[in-house]
Subunit: 358 residues, 2 copies
Amino acid sequence: MMSKNNSSGVVLTGPLQCPVPSRKNDVVLLGHGSGGKLTSELVRNVFLPAFSNPALDHLGDSAELIVEAKRIVFTTDSFVVSPWRFPGGDVGDLAVNGTINDLAVSGACPVALSAAFILEEGFSIADLRAIVESMRAAAARARVPIVTADTKVVERGKGDGVFITTSGVGVLPEGVDLAPEGIKPGDAIIVSGPLGDHGIAVMSAREGLEFETTVESDTAPLHELVATMLATGAEIRCMRDVTRGGLATVLNEIANAASVRVLLSEPDLPVRDAVRAACEILGLDPLYVACEGRLVAIVNADDAPSLLGAMRSHPLGSDALQVGTVVCRSEARVLVRTAFGTTRMVDALPGALLPRIC
Amino acid sequence: MMSKNNSSGVVLTGPLQCPVPSRKNDVVLLGHGSGGKLTSELVRNVFLPAFSNPALDHLGDSAELIVEAKRIVFTTDSFVVSPWRFPGGDVGDLAVNGTINDLAVSGACPVALSAAFILEEGFSIADLRAIVESMRAAAARARVPIVTADTKVVERGKGDGVFITTSGVGVLPEGVDLAPEGIKPGDAIIVSGPLGDHGIAVMSAREGLEFETTVESDTAPLHELVATMLATGAEIRCMRDVTRGGLATVLNEIANAASVRVLLSEPDLPVRDAVRAACEILGLDPLYVACEGRLVAIVNADDAPSLLGAMRSHPLGSDALQVGTVVCRSEARVLVRTAFGTTRMVDALPGALLPRIC
């Protein structure tokens, strides 16, 4: 520490005695993660203008929220998608929507998000601004504020541009109790829209592939669609967002939790032509390709028609349809009946089909 | 997808048709982040045995909590400390204690934590187990469960072993309203114990330095100390944990928020001899070196003696003492009166004094 004392013993000069080191404004520096002045500048120049809200603005180490329910839901996800920008989205809106969706499929109304950034030294501040703007827009679209945040910086070569971890808090309305244990034979399996768009969008950006039509990520917040679904009063047993591992993996997890056999109808599976074509080129099964704005719901079959009607009235559920049924209680198993009338078993994703897809 | 159909059209073989690829069990693989079987194995073999609790055990994408208060507090922090193990702790207990402390200094009782792991391909599973065990022990010590989690894996060279982001939810007891705006001239500034142990412990591990005595990190959960403090009824204006940027930076932030001038007494600042010696060797001012288990409180001076008495009755506050006072309303400023009677101004940390200290 430099200090300048005068005879009275009290330093009268201002903060200039500890000058902020001259710096390039265009890239992330290690000092941006030090917790001192550079961190504060980054917060005030980049994060605060985008995310501003009463809970965040006081810039404490935490945020206070008022919750109007006793049951809250809490979730977290890190987002390390590579590349960070892809057709239809980027790591920013993905991080907002992904955590909202984890709350949504539990039946909760999202209340607030946190965001923790791990930046690599040298990452472009302009790119960081673009990501933050994308988070702002996603949070505004979903009407869920980002109320608390953190920034760390690691040395060049010790990270990969930007990783974002979002956590979310939601409130569970009274009477909402979704759990796979409630699944019964005969229940309908409904998906809210086409499968695999997100995974193929990221793969096309990563591999520099061009298909006849651009496949855009389906990244979107599902809580309003879920609210529409719950409002129908349909007996929804459980819901999941169809992310890493795709529909096959998610249904295997549900089948395991409920100890049931599930049968999908392959001709009914909604997969866009462009996604199907890309999957053929890449050697992928669309059943394993991630979405980031689709959900699967298991519902009393009697309620399926009215539920589908309600879902189709919502822009994010306009292509909703039933893709299968719960067959019987049994050792957990997910089967697919093909267009040829044969049936194959689909297991959970075994290995690393698509690394860093979210 | 491989599939094996028989004449009935139904596959009767078990999951072996999609074999888990043979793998080395000793390091993290990209597939551990795929969301499929390897992720599930990692969760069931490493995370679940350590963190098991009713909210986590159902392994959903979120956790349900019952909260007995309307005001909740929400916080998040990423932990990228390098090296991940240091005298007195590791990234695991740091991640648990750090987020508990952000809740604690708001006056909240911590309810639950989330943990999101970003692992580098090739990271040792044995080391991961050690970190997870350390998190388990820290969560058990603090009696705050880890209720929801996430794991991502990035390619070798795109991360640095392990980064952990924890978020926390706490409840604010009625009547607790800590905010720097309540600070008044004459208030006492109290710290709960010696400064700089954590930063020096990490630096010594990083640089391979040996001092006459080993300096151990002070990483610890402060919520019980805070509860003891609040129970005294002392007029506590605000509290902060003394982390990145050290006491100087934290007090500058408080002084800014309250628009006050603060005067510290240098001879009263508690700094262990070994920390002071290390700081001299490393050219550091202990006022800027991070702690991870110390807090600073601003309190009505009349209540300071009884508050200090209560703090000293708690193991984490046994060395608590008053180190300064709030002098007057003014442009925000933190001054230190030295042993020689001179006074110097200390600013917030300007740059990157100690990168990746937490």
